[in-house]
């Protein structure tokens, strides 16, 4: 009995017809000879059956001896890699945080320097203004000697007579006669 093949059993009539037509075009007929006696639709010989059985047992042996790796083994194999990746990731995160902190510190320092610069500039500006004002007052102090008022306001006040610009009166004192603290008078020795 030939082995039934389901696909060919349900082959369409068109395909069967095409096959027959092509076989005719080719001139193909099953050759009857010694070499093909067992090829088509032949009953299995004991040798063929023995070989088939041997192959079937070999397939079973391979199926039984083939090692199926369980899931936990794959997991165990992948664990070191996963750990290494996790460690690398955490180290990278740590490095990133450190870099961010350093960048923030640098920003703060820059801000502080900027503030200090602004403050010093303001101080310089203030002192410069103050220096200008002091220069004006110095001129005022010098002005009585020259007899000219330093500012217009000063001149106005002078005109009104509020402030006198006369020099202070000086009483001339003889140097030879200096009263002692005890009430005695020291006289200069007569010249010889």
């Amino acid at each position: 009995m030939p082995w039934p093949e389901p696909v060919r059993r349900f082959e369409s009539p068109e395909d069967k017809e095409l096959r027959a037509e092509l076989a005719e075009l080719l001139g193909h007929r099953p050759v009857q000879g010694a070499g093909t006696a067992n090829y088509f639709g032949a009953k299995p010989t004991p040798e063929i059956v023995a070989l088939a059985e041997k192959l079937r047992l070999e397939a079973q042996r391979r199926r039984n001896t083939s090692r199926r790796r369980p899931g936990w083994m794959l997991l165990a194999a992948g664990l070191p890699i996963a750990l290494a990746l996790t460690g690398l990731g955490s180290w990278g995160l740590h490095q990133q945080r450190k870099a961010e902190a350093a960048a923030a510190a640098v920003r703060q320092m820059e801000e502080r320097v900027r503030h200090a610069k602004e403050a010093s500039e303001a101080e310089i500006q203030r002192s410069r203004e103050h220096g200008l004002q002091q220069g004006g007052s110095l001129q005022l102090a010098v002005a009585p000697e020259t007899g000219k008022p330093a500012t217009e306001a000063e001149a106005k006040a002078n005109r009104k007579g509020r402030k006198k610009l006369d020099p202070y009166p000086v009483i001339p004192v003889e140097r030879g006669v200096v009263p002692s603290p005890a009430g005695t008078t020291q006289v200069k020795a007569p010249q010889r």
């Binding site: 009995m1 030939p2 082995w3 093949e5 696909v7 060919r8 082959e11 395909d15 095409l18 096959r19 037509e21 092509l22 076989a23 075009l25 080719l26 001139g27 193909h28 007929r29 050759v31 000879g33 070499g35 093909t36 067992n38 090829y39 088509f40 639709g41 032949a42 009953k43 299995p44 010989t45 063929i48 059956v49 070989l51 088939a52 059985e53 192959l55 079937r56 070999e58 397939a59 079973q60 391979r62 199926r63 039984n64 083939s66």
Partner: protein
């Protein structure tokens, strides 16, 4: 340990069915491997059966599976890197294996087959000589069924041209 049911069943059914299928397919597969220039076609055919039986889930078309496996193994054997000592004369294009056709085809068929292009010859061989269906051939060659049909129809046109050179014939 496999359950008893899986030990007793095969992709072809009961062990007796497997024996019948093996008796029919084995010589064909040996010849098919030889057509691809295989040095050890018997080993390839037997290995294909073992691979088929080894599968836990049997394929939908076992015949196409073993043909496809034989084709793959034969082509792998022909790889130059794996067969450094293989002479070029023994490595031939598919369908031109040394003495592969002698056992199955007469001289006239052989000559007509030789005149076809290798692509069409392979599909025609599987369809007419091996008696496989379009679906099985598509599975063996890993191409769509429509492509198989196209190749077979073109092979038919080439055959008609051989018989009636310059003649007018309808497509299909």
């Amino acid at each position: 340990m496999q359950p008893p049911s899986s030990l007793e069943t095969t992709p072809f059914g009961a062990p007796a069915d497997f024996h019948a299928a093996f008796a029919e397919l084995y010589p064909r597969l040996v010849s098919y491997a030889r057509r691809y220039g295989a040095v050890y076609p018997e080993d390839i055919a037997q290995e294909a059966f073992v691979i088929l039986m080894q599968r836990e889930v049997p394929p939908e078309h076992p015949t196409a599976f073993v043909y496809g496996t034989v084709r793959t193994l034969a082509l792998t054997e022909r790889r130059p890197m794996k067969n450094q000592n293989l002479s070029l004369e023994s490595v031939m294009e598919p369908g031109r294996g040394a003495d592969a056709d002698d056992a199955m085809l007469n001289r006239e068929v052989r000559e007509r087959m030789q005149l076809l292009s290798p692509t069409f010859r392979e599909a025609l061989w599987l369809f007419v000589v091996e008696g496989l269906s379009i679906k099985e051939i598509a599975e063996i060659l890993s191409i769509p069924e429509a492509t198989v049909k196209t190749r077979i129809h073109r092979a038919k046109l080439q055959l008609r041209d051989q018989i009636n050179p310059g003649g007018v014939h309808a497509l299909a």
